[in-house]
């Protein structure tokens, strides 16, 4: 059995700093998407708290040594939310924040969908939904077999659960009892054509995963404290793979984007105009985040 590298509990002070950090990351997501002129808003904003928790508290990693052998592996299966990963990586020190403004441009390390041959620190290339989860399983299988100290995480989406390959991989993970594997599902209830339960009902997700041999933990994906606890619990579960169903709000932090599937694939400045004109969308969104920052501070006082 390998040494477990524990995930620490969160102090009140660290929690406040993570919440503020997530808010800053959201601002960068909006700015980089606006500069790119295309890309996805809803998913990245919805996963900002979780990515902040992962990079600033949960993962054992080293931004100066992205290929460190013993790093924890964070796979991303729903590649379209990669702006949240890029922004978080920049904040963590993987590369200069100024590079965020090259997103989706010719010659950039920050491809529209993540590519490991363009940027060190990613674990997999993704965009075509469903391909990341099985790769995380393959890596975890080897990690378990060779008693590696690292843990394998994979962030994925709910719409992606419609792809059969995800369940083929789940069956495998169940068969080999990959306790070193934790899937994190962005349960935001939207996909491109509408709400998941209208497009292709996914529920009961929990029962489905349990039937495939997973331990299921459900959390509020915007409660960093609870999410860290869930990861600690996942690490402690020794006989099964774990899936954390993170209930998130698509577009979280920006009032006029929240819960609206029309913001799945639009950046500020190109989104639906039911609330704000295109030209005002970035500023209005940043305004919301400034207000949110104030709220976070006062809550902790």
């Amino acid at each position: 059995m390998p040494d477990i590298r524990p995930i620490l509990t969160l102090s009140e002070k660290k929690l406040l700093s993570l919440e503020l950090q997530a808010n800053e990351i959201r601002k960068d997501i909006l700015k980089m998407l606006t500069e790119a002129g295309s890309g996805h808003s809803a998913g990245p904003l919805g996963m900002a708290d979780i990515f902040t928790a992962l990079y600033f508290h949960i993962l054992h990693h080293d931004p100066n040594k992205p290929l460190w052998d013993d790093r924890d592996r964070l796979f991303l299966s729903n590649g379209h939310i990669v702006p949240v990963r890029y922004a978080t990586m920049a904040h963590a020190g993987y590369f200069d924040k100024s590079e965020l403004m090259t997103l989706r441009k010719l010659g950039s390390h920050l491809q529209g969908h993540p590519e490991i041959t363009h940027l060190k620190g990613l674990e997999n290339t993704s965009g075509p939904l469903g391909d990341g989860a099985p790769q995380s399983v393959g890596t975890a299988y080897i990690g378990k077999k060779e008693n590696k100290p690292w843990h394998v995480f994979c962030a994925m989406s709910d719409g992606e659960l419609e792809a059969g390959i995800v369940w083929e991989a789940a069956m495998f993970a169940g068969k080999y009892k990959l306790h070193n594997l934790t899937w994190i599902i962005d349960r935001n209830n939207i996909q491109i054509d509408g709400f998941t339960e209208d497009i292709m009902p996914l529920e009961p997700i929990k029962d489905k995963f349990e039937a495939f041999g997973f331990e299921v933990i459900e959390v509020d994906g915007h409660n960093i404290d609870r999410f860290v606890d869930a990861c600690r619990e996942a690490q402690a579960i020794w006989e099964r793979p774990v899936v954390i169903i993170a209930h998130t709000i698509p577009g979280k932090g920006v009032d006029f984007m929240e819960f609206d599937y029309k913001w799945h694939g639009a950046p500020p400045g190109k989104g639906p105009e039911d609330t704000f004109k295109k030209a005002d969308q970035l500023n209005e969104a940043l305004k919301d985040l400034r207000t949110l920052g104030g709220k976070i501070k006062s809550e902790h006082e």
Partner: protein
């Protein structure tokens, strides 16, 4: 000079005067028309209803539209099952995922069984732009044309895409239609002919033949104009029916011009240009240059910028055409 029988838009040369529409728009219109003509036409989409332009059909025939969610493999096989029950079924997604992800289902349930499965691959080529390589399908022509029973159509503008869609519904057996995301000039007209297994000579010429498919055929026309200014007479062929290919026309232009440039927004290996090479190597060998992606993936960037970056625009066609002319004289 443009071929009069082809009835291109009179303003074909003036790009600014032409409408610019993506070929997927023409598909959307053609699908509605096909649905009107035949009550057995169904459409299935995998969570991309608007961007593949199936939304018009969905509105017009809600009970013949089926939503799959993100499940392209099942979409092909379920679609084939509906074909076995007597329907003509269009399955639409981005080309990367269909036919990219579901090739075996298309092979077995579409081709081997010879069902009326019509595969519509949108967002093909590097002109998809900023989404990057994961979404820029470059291997679909190769994947589809290698399949027995499969028909492969690569329309050059949105009007031709509409006709190709209506034609696909009438063909007995599986069909692949390749579509682009980006707007491109609409320069054919309702009167421009489209026939299965026919290539169209858009412009007569005798020194070199530029054979293209998809929106890049327009770049061939522009290149032919540039070549004309230098006294080189270029023939332009719209090779829309990649399979079955119009062998007679291709051999004729090879005989007449003695040198060929092919161009497609796809891997230069195994695509339309390769089909031309296979034919002419056996029937009438002439020097050929295949333009396209040279054994590499695309990357993020603006569509026009990428076409330039990967040397798929008219000025690059001119350069390649002049080079091939030199090979011709050596021979």
């Amino acid at each position: 000079m443009p071929n009069k029988d082809i009835k291109l838009n009179r303003d074909w040369k003036k790009q600014d005067a032409l409408k610019a529409l993506p070929t997927r728009d023409g598909f959307g219109e053609g699908l509605i028309e096909a649905g009107k003509r035949d009550g057995n036409v169904y459409a299935i989409c995998a969570d991309l209803t608007e961007s593949t332009r199936v939304d018009g059909f969905k509105k017009a025939f809600p009970d013949r539209f089926v939503q799959m969610g993100v499940a392209e493999q099942a979409m092909a096989a379920i679609g084939a099952g509906m074909c076995l029950a007597g329907k003509t079924v269009f399955i639409a997604s981005y080309a990367c995922f269909s036919p990219g992800r579901n090739w075996e289902q298309i092979r077995t349930t579409g081709c081997l069984q010879k069902t009326n499965l019509k595969i519509v691959g949108a967002h093909a080529g590097v002109s998809v732009g900023p989404d990057g390589a994961t979404h820029q399908m470059l291997e679909d022509i190769a994947l589809m044309r290698v399949l027995p029973e499969m028909t492969v159509l690569v329309p050059c503008d949105s009007i031709e895409a509409k006709k190709a869609t209506i034609l696909a519904a009438e063909i007995d057996g599986p069909v692949y239609i390749r579509l682009a995301r980006e707007k491109s000039p609409v320069y054919t007209t309702e009167a421009t002919p489209l026939e299965l297994g026919k290539a169209q000579i858009f412009r007569e010429g005798s020194d070199v033949a530029l054979i293209g498919c998809g929106p890049l055929v327009y770049q061939c026309l522009l290149a032919a104009e540039m070549l004309a200014e230098e006294g080189i007479s270029a023939c332009v062929v719209n090779n829309v029916s990649v399979k079955p290919m119009d062998e007679k026309t291709i051999i004729e232009v090879a005989k007449k011009c003695g040198a060929i440039v092919t161009i497609e927004e796809a891997q230069a290996v195994a695509g339309m240009g390769s089909a031309v090479c296979e034919l002419l190597a056996e029937e009438y060998p002439v020097p050929i240059s295949r333009m396209g992606m040279q054994d590499r993936f695309g990357e993020s960037g603006e569509p026009d910028e990428l076409l330039e970056h990967f040397k798929l625009t008219a000025p690059h066609i001119v350069l390649v055409a002049k080079k091939i002319l030199k090979k011709k004289s050596i021979k």
